[in-house]
Structure formats: structure tokens, C-alpha cells
């Protein structure tokens, strides 16, 4: 099945020549619907809004193609299977995978990372081994390793974060020197600082020291061109709902040889080749890791989201994010007592977290909310990073392709208002 929209529906904007967030917004029903006050959505790092083509793909799947996959011999089931596998090919191609067999569908990045923790890590790590993470990881790339470290004597190490929100790469050789690190886990774009980390360099040094690299690409794949070969990583986790797709669908990419050698994650239907009462043997890749009925419609919806993003061009999406972040940093300078977390604009994606004097981020977010501005407030699932920065919590504005400079203007107005209320 092709994810092309049915006739009568405007196609995704062919906007490579002129990237126009105003034109892009018109494709997002939640953003074009009139509201009072108008919605200024600045929480795309939590989840993105969904364009018509994605919602239509879901609707079309359920109204025309719905059947369980990989089982039925009837045509409808074959069509559903083709649509699901077409989505897999799209995601695989989107991240530069060598083969769709290397692309495992999961619920989200968290499940993708847990898959690695529960299969590869438990099959390969022994007492005395170490896992190297960073101080700016999301809890999704910390907690699975805490659980593992609680079960066996695996040491967790951390690449420090500098005062200006960058990874301290100078510490890397020392952390890798004793050869005990078997896995490095690094977030590609920090969901708090917005920092775009030099993942390829981390992976290169890790490999030279005998370690594999897992990239948490939750915030990068939705916003910039990502190629697993160029990164030189071994595992990459992504989630669909931050990239204009539905919730409940994400993916793990891993090198084929690793996946072949890894034990399965969950047991159940579809992931087996043969089941006898005494035991089972595993299906081939990628289905070995996809037990039970998968989120089929969601995968199809994700495929449609990728087609939309490809039409925009990921280079253009990232340039837009960076431009908005730079504009936000500039405008936020006008707000007294405001402190932005993280690096200069050229080193970050479309994420800007900040503190506003002594005003608690919840209060900031509530005042903003009452002016229609939706931002995230709290620790953004990165408590250790906030501790490192000496911050209890922060407020965060984050962008996607549909975000406008006017959204930033509304944010700045709201922040002035917050200072009036709490000053």
C-alpha cells in the first residue's frame, strides 16, 4: 500500500524550496483549529502534533486494510502485512539502515532501550564490566541500566556535562582506558539542554576501546537527518510520536550480526519459528523481536509521518529548529532574571529550557498556560542532569516544523506577565 493521500486531500507541502511553517501548520488540525486564547504549542519535545496525512493513514488502515498481519492467507491480510512491512522499510531507510531486517518495531524509545538491556546486555555483560552513559541522559537511558546494575555487579560510569551544557569529551579516554566498558549509551540531542552531542566521535572512541554504542535518538531522528552508518553506532532507539506519528510505535535499529546473536525479548506469537510443548525456536529477523500483535495501524501512521517529513526535508526541518532556537535565545535575553540552560544556539536543536528568577517552573507554566502557551515544567525526566546543573526544575519550550517566531513572542510576553504576577 502506498501512503500517498487519497484524492481530494492536499498533499504534504513540497516545501524544499521555501520552508514555510505557516503553510505547514495548515496540515495540523489541532493547530489550525481556532481556540480562545489561540494555542501556542511549545512542547514538541514531549510529543509532536499530527498532520492530516497521519490521521488519514490511521483511518484508511482501519477502514480499508484492517486485518492481522503475517497470518491470514486472504488478500486483506496480505495487504495489511504489506502496509506494515512498507512502514518498516520506510523507517529503516529514514535512519540509513542497511536492511529492514535490522529495524525492530517497539512501542517507543524506552522499549527499544529496554530490549537491548534485557537481551544483549544480559547475554553479554558479566560482573566487572562497565556501561558508560552521560550525565544528560533521559531516565529512559538510565533506569534500564540501574535495574541491570542492581542484578549483577556491572559498573555505571558517566561522561560529565560541562557548565555550558556540553559533553566533556576530554574525560572520555580516561573513562574508557581500562577496557571494562562494554557499552556506551549516549543521547543524541538532550531533551533539556538541546545539545546536539558528537555521537560519531563518542562511538569511534568507544569502538576503539572495545565497546558498542547505543544512541538514544528520541529527539534527533524527528528533527534532523540521521544515518546510523555515519554515526558509527551499534544500536539506535527512536520513537514515532515525537516525529509527527502516532503514539505506541517506535523502533530499535541494531547491527544485524548483533540482532542475530541476541536472545529474544518477549515470548509469544509471531516471534517463533516452531513451538513444541517442550520448547520453541525463534523466528528470523526482525520478527524474532516482535512478539504478539504489533501496533499495525500506528506503524502505518508512522510511515505516513516519515513521508511528510521527507517532503519537508530533514535538513530544512533542522535548520528551522535551529533558527527558532537562536531567535528564542535572543528574545529571552530581554526577560530579566531569566537563565537559559544549555549551550549557544549553534550547538543546539529546537529545545530551550530555562529558569525565571525564583519563580517555580510550575508557576511559570501555569501563567503561560492561562495565556494559551503550552510549555513543559519540571525535570523533564532528567533528574540527574538538573541536580548537576544545580537546578530543582526548569521550564522548557521546544519546537517542530510548525512552530513560528510568533510562538516565541507569545512565550516572551507570557514570561513578562509571570514576573508581574510573582515579582
Amino acid at each position: 500500500m502506498t501512503p500517498a493521500p487519497p484524492s481530494g486531500v492536499a498533499p504534504a507541502p513540497a516545501a524544499r524550496a521555501a520552508f514555510s511553517p505557516e503553510a505547514i501548520r495548515a496540515h495540523f488540525p489541532l493547530l489550525r483549529e481556532r481556540r480562545e486564547p489561540p494555542l501556542v504549542y511549545l512542547d514538541s519535545a514531549a510529543t509532536s502534533q499530527k498532520p492530516d496525512v497521519v490521521l488519514e493513514a490511521l483511518q484508511r488502515h482501519y477502514t480499508r486494510t484492517n486485518a492481522n498481519i503475517h497470518r491470514g492467507v486472504y488478500r486483506l491480510a496480505e495487504e495489511a502485512t504489506a502496509a506494515y512491512e512498507d512502514a518498516r522499510r520506510r523507517v529503516a531507510k529514514f535512519v540509513g539502515a542497511g536492511s529492514p531486517r535490522e529495524l525492530i518495531f517497539t512501542r517507543n524509545s524506552t522499549e527499544a532501550i529496554n530490549l537491548v538491556a534485557y537481551t544483549w546486555a544480559r547475554a553479554n555483560l558479566v560482573a566487572g564490566d562497565a556501561i558508560l552513559l552521560t550525565e544528560m541522559e533521559h531516565h529512559a537511558n538510565l533506569v534500564p541500566w540501574h535495574i541491570l546494575a542492581g542484578e549483577r555487579a556491572v559498573e555505571l560510569r558517566f561522561i560529565p556535562v560541562t557548565g555550558d551544557g556540553l559533553l566533556d569529551l576530554g574525560a572520555l579516554p580516561g573513562l574508557l582506558a581500562d577496557g571494562r566498558v562494554k557499552l556506551t549509551g549516549v543521547v543524541h540531542i538532550s531533551n533539556v539542554l538541546g545539545t546536539v552531542n558528537p555521537v560519531a566521535e563518542v562511538a569511534r572512541q568507544a569502538r576503539a576501546a572495545g565497546a558498542l554504542t547505543l544512541v538514544d535518538a528520541s529527539q534527533s531522528v524527528p528533527h534532523m537527518p540521521v544515518d546510523v552508518k555515519a554515526l558509527g553506532c551499534d544500536f539506535l532507539a527512536l520513537t514515532g510520536h515525537k516525529m509527527l506519528g502516532p503514539t505506541g510505535i517506535g523502533a530499535l535499529w541494531a547491527r544485524r550480526a548483533l540482532l542475530e546473536a541476541m536472545p529474544p525479548f518477549m515470548g509469544g506469537g509471531e516471534m517463533i519459528r516452531e513451538v513444541r510443548l517442550a520448547g520453541s525456536s525463534w523466528n528470523e529477523l526482525p520478527w524474532k523481536f516482535e512478539a504478539g500483535t504489533m501496533p499495525i495501524a500506528e506503524a502505518v501512521g508512522l510511515g505516513a509521518a516519515l513521508a511528510f517529513l521527507e517532503d519537508l526535508g530533514m535538513d530544512a526541518v533542522f535548520a528551522h529548529d535551529q533558527e527558532l532556537a537562536a531567535y528564542a535565545l535572543e528574545r529571552l535575553r530581554e526577560v530579566p532574571d531569566l537563565r537559559v540552560l544549555g549551550p549557544a544556539a549553534e550547538k543546539r536543536g529546537g529545545v530551550v529550557a530555562f529558569e525565571l528568577g525564583d519563580i517555580h517552573p510550575h508557576d511559570v507554566a501555569t501563567v503561560l498556560d492561562h495565556q494559551g502557551v503550552a510549555v513543559r515544567a519540571g525535570h523533564h525526566c532528567a533528574m540527574p542532569l538538573h541536580e548537576k546543573l544545580g537546578v530543582h526544575a526548569s521550564a522548557r519550550a521546544s519546537f517542530h516544523c510548525y512552530s513560528l517566531p510568533q510562538d516565541v513572542d507569545a512565550l516572551v510576553r507570557g514570561l513578562h506577565r509571570a514576573r508581574e504576577v510573582f515579582g
Binding site: H362, D363, V367, A377, G378, H392, A393, V421, F422
Partner: protein
């Protein structure tokens, strides 16, 4: 616009900006600390008890206006009262003191002070119906 003042009623802002009973006690009979990890709110309550009455009560820590104002109001209300009064206080009393409608996230901010006082006085870490409100 404008409906922010419904939430940040003047008395909340007043307690937030000029908190009553703020600080710590040198020799508290009861001291208890709790946190709301979701928001990073932290609260410590110190109580001096004399003849079964709350002689002095102080709160310290940091948090949003709702959590700070509710701590201030609660301490103001409890100082000089019999310790028994703590047992009688309910979440409804706190919400009535604040005088606002709150969503589930901010509700936790509002109730942190009561939870901390109750836990300190009676070792109660949960009160009836709390689990219904999760997460």
C-alpha cells in the same frame, strides 16, 4: 486571559510572597521532610509540642506558589492548636483554605504540606483515597 487570577487568588500570592511561620526550629520535637519528585518541591516541617499543643510550627524548603502558600496557611492554622487537630485536617480543608480548583498535578503541590505534617505527627504516609488520585 485573566483567569490566572482565579488560580492565583490574592491570598495565595500573599502567602507565597510573605510566608507565615517560615523557617526551622532549633529543638523541634517533630521534624519531617517530604518531597514531590515530579515538580522538585521539597518541604520540611518542624514542630515544638507543649502539653499536647503545637507550640511552634515552621516550614522550610522550596517549591511552587501553591505548595508554599499551602504550607504557610497550614502552619498559620495549626500553631497553638492541639496536636489532635492534625488528625482531623483533611485534603478538603486544605483546598478550602486555598480556595481554588486544581488539576491533578497541582493538587499534589497543594497537598504536600498536609502530607508532610501528618507523616511527621502520626507517621501517616498515605491517607484514604490517595491511591485514587494516582498518578
Amino acid at each position: 486571559m485573566g483567569d490566572w487570577d482565579e488560580l492565583y487568588r490574592e491570598n495565595i500570592l500573599e502567602h507565597y510572597k510573605h510566608p507565615r511561620n517560615r523557617g526551622t526550629l532549633e529543638h523541634p520535637d517533630i521534624t519531617y521532610e517530604d518531597a514531590n519528585p515530579l515538580c522538585g518541591d521539597q518541604l520540611r516541617i518542624d514542630i515544638e509540642v507543649k502539653d499536647g499543643r503545637i507550640e511552634k510550627i515552621r516550614h522550610s524548603g522550596h517549591g511552587c506558589s501553591i505548595s508554599q502558600a499551602s504550607a504557610s496557611m497550614l502552619c498559620e492554622r495549626l500553631e497553638g492548636q492541639p496536636l489532635e487537630e492534625v488528625k482531623k485536617l483533611t485534603r478538603e480543608d486544605v483546598l478550602e483554605m486555598l480556595g481554588i480548583e486544581l488539576g491533578p498535578v497541582r493538587l499534589k503541590c497543594a497537598l504536600l504540606a498536609l502530607k508532610t505534617v501528618k507523616a511527621g505527627v502520626y507517621g501517616i504516609t498515605q491517607w484514604p483515597g490517595e491511591e485514587e488520585g494516582a498518578p
